[in-house]
Symmetry: D3
């Protein structure tokens, strides 16, 4: 007696009704309390689901349809407003459970700090983990205005956990001088400004390794993603980001989880960022879940 | 394994998970294809649900909590875009089923024409039906630019079906001269401009009768409901509309179904109209479902 | 072979095609170059016309229809950007012509300074002119930051021209101390905060006199008219403004011209101000043109 | 006595006052009732005209001025809201008349379904017609949710009418698997993702043939055209679309009519899409009308 | 060599350049990390300052000018993003300093939780403190989703600190049943829905007592303050709120500090809320600082 | 006792507190009264400062930090609204003073006409001045609708002052036929459509010459700068504009002053244009001040 949930914008289009039968679990991490500039990404996952009804279920890029994959949309994790530590703990516990059940975790943020507990969880299962990170910002601070739990720190944290040499950042065009220096001195890969071309060089090195991919929507130029907390001019186009997703799809890399973060609907005047994010989620599903 | 649906904006806050156990069914009628001015109300029900998470579940007006009522949110009826007749048929069939199952139908529009098949269905069950109509517009046209299925016609249709003397319009401040004349000549009640005071006079006359209440959000002044298709200055305040809902709640009238229509999110810059609509739905639930 | 112009938003709804046969001429004065705060009212007249298609042609307040009056929409006067003096000269010449041809001038601004040349022109024809002024602001400055041609000065200019005792301001809630003092010392009437009640007292005194009415849309509270250059909290409702227009309509005052100014579409997120303005224009036409 | 109409945003800049003397007729088709996602394109033609005042009349791309062409702006066809069939009939009759009078039809939508009756009409005059179609979407469905009259079907309809081998689609990045298959199996040309380069290859094949060009503004990336119903990331830039228009202008193809559809002002926060559309119309006029 | 700071929107209009000579200190508390619904009030103080340039410096309500008072605009306290406890500590330390220096603290939020450390600080200086609280919400929770530091708790905290019988809430229209019960059982005053009339009754009881006034902008109806985190229909008008401020100004109450919180510019489509807030700040200064 | 001014959005991030010690002076020219289309750029400088808090102080493009340069933010020049001539005089006097004190002038508009008095002043000091101009528009008119002081004329004025052969325009895609002809006939350089590639050719010719660079933000495509008065499709990307700034930085050209004009916040729905402008200012500082 209930109408199709995707039609009502309740779940991501094409998702299956049962957790048990799913290969992939799509989930929201509606946290934005540590951002230093414009908050609002807590509403990102909800809006991405809502606009997914406008998507076709077929990808002409990958010649694949959503019905070929079983994914369950778990909704948003009910995080405690303003408490970063408890929020991160809840996310980690949730992803632990997913991995334990053999699911592919596909997360939607929320601010970028939410990726940190996910990667921690993934690393427990995959000790030879590599991370591909697409972003405008280095996110390599140790703290921000005295706070170690900040949206500016997740990549530093994961680099220290899994080794900086296992983290590959692309599209970076903003950060403190010290962050770039730390990366250089510690053997962490940073491709400034560009994504697709350097990715083509790096992917062969990661062949057969388990890779977690974290995409901050602000790797896109503000023209392509105005609806995010911290826009930064000079970014890549959505065409280039789609091509980068497809490049990974066609590589020998074994993607074992991914996220897309920092969509902030209140700054997304025409809903273009949410629409773009929903297409990116579709391509991540179709390209990375074999 | 799925998180609370209201938290993710998927269902109206506090709704129960099963159709079977519910007294009330909340449903969306996402149709806007016959509007003559600004479309967009198809997205009304979805946005009302989404923002309902911002509501408290308790009404200090009625001293009652949502948990005292069992209501099921059925989502949106999947209406065929651009086909008015088929859409109306689907709505009528759906409400027939609800009434057959003993449910209280609480609908969300969509354009006002969606109320027509609902009232048709309700009339089949309640032959002594009266209708209370709150709106800026008469909606008494027989057709609009040659189209008999138009958002300008639902009250005329129901008046012809159940008898004009059983229809009571309030807050009306816009219409053709002919519409006002038709009402006058046919014994239909129209209170121009005001709602609360004339309602107090009329309610005693409807004592113990089954009443369907249809509220067009544009009965509110544009200051209180900018997010609707056809705004019209000089309307009532949300305080007055709340008081009118409470007046009905305290009366001897037997409300047997209701709707709230014409919320158009794309014109609702600050989401105030959707937030107001979600509060009105709460008060309608708490006040009218005994 | 050309479709109805009102349908395409080209002219105000119901206007007649020929200047010659018209009693009233509706015209735009798209000037906003002297405003001290937020510009944008140059686009006001165009947007008011465009949204007029959403109006009914009948007023249930006055029981009168637009077809009972012949009015011609002349479009916008092509004012030279950034040159206040030349703009004012062009407006004055245009209104001189209208008055010479026996037309009722009904202007749409634009910033309030545009009313000054109109009133100058009107005064040449009607030496016993009185002015009714509804506004949030006194507009009684002699200059602004050294500029005598400023949106803060038109009422001072007209008061000095026709005598302060012939100017009646209503709804005023903002101004310099000196402006209020000047009015007091010079016998000019100012009703602070309110419009309708003081208007009822003043109207009998103006019986049979020719009166020009100039309405700054910001006399409305920002809730009712967000789309204007200088919003100021604590204003009247659109219901009260409508009632004030109707009060004048029912009085013995002889309105011989009027304007509505300061609608700024770019600040009118939901187009509510433009819609309200188009309804006010309709009521001014139906109420003041006998 | 009426001011210049383009100045007031009433007609497209530079248009001539008489139908009789014109070579080209510009007209609006304000229909959006069959769209499956976001409505609002009914207001597209009006806004395109309004912002055209911001255009220069000279094209530095084509070294040609608007005054070299005589075009008449007929306004918007007054289509019956919510009735798709009657709307299409009215459009077809109007274009029949234009073609009979020897005019070049240049239409502005409205949803893409409006192109169907135009192309039907054009085909009656030009039996060897070819169609160039630029769009993000295939528009090759036979029906949508049971409706054969849907914004997802116009290209299928014209392909079946004039033969799929005479239809050339460019820039396509969204559709059902079945649509792409149907095109392939039936010899219809689809260039996925790109426009300019494949166009260069196709144009020589169409030498001297009468060609109708239909452009859905969503062929542009959402960064370049946020103001449309269904945005889809990964599109072309406005620079590329301009170059494509110029490529056709310089080819031996005989353009005999064209349209630009799907501009939806309510989603066009900064009016950039309407401004871009008005420039595209200028270039189509200057490039395609010899 | 620096231009007037208010002109550039840097400080609140009319503020004096030196802390030392000031009677009042105006300061921002840009914190929004514990809000449960829509964040963004961190940008409130900045926007209020910026739009203050649109204000007149004279109040026709109080017949007083800003130059009669010396107030210093200290800017925003640089709070650590996402750390509620440290933020509150910094605010308390800052206000301790102000009070020690004999200043009148006039704060701008930020979420309502920022008022808690201010009131704590004020209570240290004034042990017979009473609090006047105007708000849509009770804010009497002990915690929210497990968090004791939440925007839903400040009034509970202050009530427990200074005694519930010393806290007077007005305009309340939202809260949990338990919150209303707690207030009732503990002798705390709550006026539901209304502000001005109950305030007139309460003020004589507070004669000569030191009173801190905390105003949540959402006590206003969403029509009057759309730009806030949690809008709730049925509120008071800005006219009523102004009258309430003036009522306090004319009473025998000794206001010793105040704040205005929860202005969220990103939801303030036309900047009306910020403009209203800046006028409220002016009236608070002119009315409450003797 | 005052908090950091950049934190409160009062001054551009990283600016130094004293005029005396500065090498560069950043200043706003908040004038928009002669624009022919959409006004609003008067608020540009303020918003650019405000959002600069979101910038990193390090440029990964130039490997340089803001702290390496001493610049003072003087605020906005208090220009008289609506008086173009007096405004230009004030700007010229201010820049005369800066140059006299040995400062590098870095201006923010405001409409493009503000660059004219700046360049006049600069030319007095540098008689062998060359001008690099990046813009969508030629700005070579002698007057606009009879006004010689118009936003369409500044480049013509400077070309006539310093000789057309010393003016180099890039990215031009809009203008009257006569403007392009005048440039051609008078030896002024215009690169149509492109900036970076032609700039590479021109820069060597300007080696060691003093160069003033004036950038109209609308040289960017509307996708990259929707927040400006006159958008024009087919522009360059922000990536290309950044590269152009860096190309100049790496050349032998001696930049002796610069400006960035035409940012209009009210059309900048997501604040992306202001954010981009603040990054451009940072790169201009880091790249052009040696």
């Amino acid at each position: 007696m209930r109408f199709d949930e995707a039609y009502s914008g309740k779940v991501f289009i094409g998702s299956c009704p049962n957790y048990g039968e799913s290969e992939v679990v799509l989930y929201g991490m509606p946290m934005d309390w540590t951002v230093s500039y414009r908050p609002g990404s807590r509403f990102g996952p909800g809006r991405i689901r809502e606009v997914s009804i406008g998507l076709e279920e077929y990808s002409p890029y990958l010649d694949r349809e959503l019905k070929e994959i079983k994914y369950f949309d778990a909704g948003d994790i009910p995080l405690p407003f303003g408490n970063a530590q408890r929020s991160l703990d809840m996310i980690e516990a949730f992803v632990d459970k997913l991995l334990n059940d053999g699911k592919f975790p596909l997360g939607m943020g929320g601010e970028h700090l939410v990726s940190w507990p996910v990667m921690k969880s993934v690393y427990k299962k995959y000790p030879d983990l590599a991370v591909i990170h697409m972003d405008a910002h280095t996110d390599l601070r140790t703290e921000y205005e005295g706070e170690p739990l900040s949206h500016s720190t997740p990549i530093r944290k994961v680099a220290e956990l899994i080794g900086p040499e296992n983290v590959y950042s692309f599209g970076i065009r903003s950060g403190m001088k010290e962050e770039f220096q730390w990366a250089k001195e510690n053997g962490m890969h940073i491709s400034k400004f560009e994504v697709l071309e350097p990715l083509k060089e790096i992917l062969p090195k990661l062949m057969n390794r388990p890779v977690y991919v974290t995409i901050d929507i602000d790797v896109l130029d503000p023209a392509h993603a105005p609806g995010t907390g911290t826009v930064d001019a000079g970014g890549i186009t959505s065409k280039e980001l789609l091509a980068s997703i497809h490049e990974i799809a066609r590589s020998e890399v074994q993607v074992i989880g991914a996220d897309l973060v920092e969509v902030a609907p209140v700054y997304d005047a025409s809903e273009q960022t949410a629409n773009t994010a929903s297409k990116l989620i579709r391509e991540m599903l179709l390209g990375w879940v074999k």
